[in-house]
Amino acid sequence: MAFGDYPALYDPQKHGPYDPARYYGKQDIPLAQVKLGELGAWLGRREKTPSAVAGAFSRAFWRWQHKYVQPKRSGIAPFFQLVVGSSIVFYIFNYGRLTSHRNYKYH
């Protein structure tokens, strides 16, 4: 599987038109429904290759796109989500430098 190819398990005859937000492998229990005790086993069943991780991020991005950006009458929510999310991310990136701006010695 090279760059730009469809996932290896995707079969147009079987699955229909390609949906980038969809996982074409074997379905597992959603993470939200996993019990804490089964979390280790659930993580053990996950693929951990770089391409699989990249695929997971790509599907998450497309799910977000389909839900907030691509609908016919989407609002300003995705813009704010992007702003807030990037603020948090860059806050974490710059955390080491920002801590020098603290006003109090004792908390």
């Binding site: 005859q13 079987k14 699955h15 229909g16 949906d19 389909h66 609908p71 300003i76 006003n103 908390h107």
Partner: protein, 249 residues
């Protein structure tokens, strides 16, 4: 030669299929995709949905629903407030100059969303509708045209039914004419035969009359011829004596 080979038969059909497949946008107009495999549970067609619900401009509704089962309706706000209190009081979140910049930006954005948002949304929605209409117009026109063509075709078929009735009437008309002609001929034959029979009857009558007349003439002539001068004289004498007798009386 080559063009004929391309246009004729199988090749042309293959070209058409190829063309339709290249331009097909949905399953409805490409028969190649319409198979039994569409009934498989894995077969799904992506659907463009409504935008996900959010609160406070950007927080997904699911986040609040997640709290409701455990904490009730105030839970998510309590969580946000307590977490931010913790982060601020421990200075995990440091309130440097960017924080105040964020506050002013947030005020501007919220004001923008509240005051300009609805108008902008209405304008954009209108534009979306116009765009969609512009794409749909041709299709709607095509549909209307085809519906009109169907109407015309139905009317024409109705007219053809009328034609059948008309044809029936014409047939009946012709049958009536034939019947009339037949009776006319029958009558002609009758009159002609009657004329001839009348002629024969008249001829016979005339012949009989002439024969009778001739016979009478012949008898009279014979009788005249048989009268002698003596007899005539006697007769005249008799007449004179009769006259004398009458004069006396």
């Amino acid at each position: 030669m080559l063009s004929r080979a391309l246009i004729s038969g199988q090749n042309a059909r293959a070209l058409m299929v190829l063309g339709s497949r290249a331009t097909a946008t949905s399953a409805s107009n490409s028969s190649a995709v319409q198979t039994a495999e569409q009934n498989l549970p894995e077969f799904r067609r992506p659907v463009r949905g409504e935008p996900g619900k959010v609160r406070l401009g950007f927080i997904p509704e699911e986040w609040f629903q997640f709290f409701y089962k455990k904490t009730g309706v105030t839970g998510p706000y309590t969580f946000a407030f307590t977490l931010s209190t913790y982060l601020v009081s421990k200075e995990i979140y440091v309130m440097e100059h960017e924080y105040y910049n964020t506050l002013s930006l947030a005020i501007i954005w919220i004001a923008g969303v509240k005051f300009i948002g609805p108008k902008l949304a209405a304008a954009l929605d209108k534009e979306i509708d116009e765009f969609e209409d512009s794409w749909n117009k041709g299709r709607e026109f095509e549909k209307e045209y085809l519906a009109g063509a169907i109407e015309t075709e139905k009317k024409l078929q109705w007219g053809m039914e009328g034609q059948e009735v008309l044809l029936q009437a014409k047939r009946e008309n012709v049958a009536l004419q034939l019947e009339a002609d037949y009776r006319q001929r029958l009558f002609t034959a009758y009159t002609e035969v009657k004329k001839r029979l009348d002629f024969q009857a008249e001829k016979q009558n005339i012949e009989r009359r002439i024969a009778q007349k001739n016979l009478v003439d012949w008898v009279v002539a014979k009788v005249r011829a048989s009268i002698t001068p003596d007899q005539e004289k006697q007769n005249i004498d008799k007449c004179i004596s009769d006259l004398a007798g009458l004069a006396r009386a």
